[in-house]
Amino acid sequence: MRKTLWKVGLSTAAVVLLSSSAAYAQLATQNINATAVVAARGRITLTGAINFPDTDPFGNPTIDAAPLTVQALARVAPGASVSLTVQAGGNFVSGTDQIPIGNLSWSSAGAGYNATGTMSSATAQPVGNWTGPGANNGSQTYTLLNDWAYAPGNYSVTLTYTLTSP
């Protein structure tokens, strides 16, 4: 019966192998590209109502409406100009009777808002001007001239606000 002769060789090989240590890998990396698209856009938010209650012109030559909260939101290029305007659709109208729109004026508060203005139906009137992107908050208080010459009626007019950036 043949005896296996490689037991000695095996022991030697095992000692050599066990004395070496396994390599230790540390790292894997990967890159991901992130892109954010910021396009030009604007939003106008008006909060409140412009109502002028009936009052005696003798004691109240002008009538103030409750303040209107105005928010002009614009996302534009750095340094770009932003302007907010308002224009009436015509005179105040009640049936066949009219009140001239020029009798309507306002005062404003807020950074960038013009202090005063008078409504027009012929041309857009400036409300505020700013530079660069941002949320521009302010308020307008409208005032109507109260005249004995007005015919009784419920008068209304549409005011259009426009936010622009060239």
Binding site: L10, A14, L17, L18, S21, A22, A25
Partner: protein, 151 residues
């Protein structure tokens, strides 16, 4: 008479099993089989270089012979283990060689036949290891014992 019978029995036991028994020869090479190192995504199964099995069976008449292989334990690296059953093999020529899965608890049949195998015949065994990311890093070793017998 009794002394003569006992001497006769001792002579039978001491003589090489040649005249009345089988003669078996087995050679395994190489001594060390090294699996290549590749990550599991690239190679889900690792194949080692082939192991050469040279065997010879004489004086066996028409009786069966059996070649088995068994691991001495799981593949071990310090405290880490890879189950012996993660090792499989394919072998040629088939038959008498056959594929199988390693075990550390029970010898597995590598080849089987009947009668004699003469002259020395060579088989080739390729061991394969399931490659997994769940294995710990390390240098794993284990001994495989091949046994040629005539049960």
């Amino acid at each position: 008479m009794l002394w003569r019978a006992l001497l006769l029995a001792l002579g039978v036991l001491a003589a090489p099993a040649v005249a009345s028994g089988q003669q078996l020869n087995l050679t395994i090479s190489p001594l060390l089989v090294t699996f290549p190192t590749t990550d599991p995504d690239t190679a889900p199964v690792l194949s080692a270089p082939p192991v050469t099995v040279q065997y010879r069976v004489r004086g066996n008449g028409n009786r069966p012979w059996l070649l088995t292989v068994q691991a001495s334990g799981d593949l071990i690296s310090g405290l880490s283990r890879i189950p012996a059953s993660a090792v499989t093999w394919v072998a040629t020529p088939a038959p008498p060689f056959r594929a199988g899965t390693m075990s550390s608890t029970q010898a597995q049949t590598l080849a089987a036949g009947n009668g004699n195998v003469n002259p020395t015949t060579t088989g080739t065994v390729t061991f394969q290891l399931t490659n997994s990311w769940t294995y710990d890093a390390g240098l794993y070793l284990q001994t495989l014992t091949f046994t040629l017998s005539t049960p």
